[in-house]
Amino acid sequence: MKKYFLGIIAVLLAVGFSAFTNIKAKPESTDLYWFQISNKYTQTQMVKQADATFLQQSATAPLGSGCFTGIYDCVAGFTANQVNSSNQLIDNSQVPTSVPRTKSN
């Protein structure tokens, strides 16, 4: 058991640090950048910059327009890392972090 001591201490410290830094980061990370999505994208597909229109930055999703139920993205949320300073997607290869509202066509 003695030979595992340092390793086990390291594991406990790592999990503790990790939980601590993630709890601290939580309030900022809950805010997402919401976009109205045009054209047809399923939830795991990358959205083109031109097909995403910025709606707002908030913890909850806006209603958007033309959203009912379906398999295609209607209102999609992206993290701050995926959005540039002009509130556009940084490139054409961003996958939504959250898709609370969908559409059928």
């Binding site: 201490i9 830094t21 890392n81």
Partner: protein
Amino acid sequence: MKPVKKTIAIDIISALFILLFVYTATSKLFEHNTFKAILSASPLIASKANILSWLLPILELFTAALLLIPSFRKFGFLTSFILMLLFTGYVAYMILFAKDLPCSCGGVISQMTWSQHLIFNIFFTALAFVSWRLTIRNKLFIAIDRKSRTPV
């Protein structure tokens, strides 16, 4: 380096790597959606973002487990060296071609600039390589019980 000092050094270095890998892996798993989204933004690995977002933390935890068990430590350091070499190559690529994108590393390490991250990675890559060599050479020294004349 004397064998006892070498063993202590290896114990401390392996604990350091366990701390690093478990910390970054759990940070990636706790914030899995964000981690996956950042990987998707990277031009080099965007197409494999989904698989990598699970594979990387699992590999890091596996390496930490190898380092935790003394008899597997040699393989642990070799895996650490390979992992750190891959991460360093990725950071170098990002510095050259996509400096504006965020780092997909876990926890407070993601707060570093790309250049700081490169120095950090080079240091740990070198440390993993030296430790791996030390564990190989350590094999040349085995403790023998004076009375029974058998390894202990």
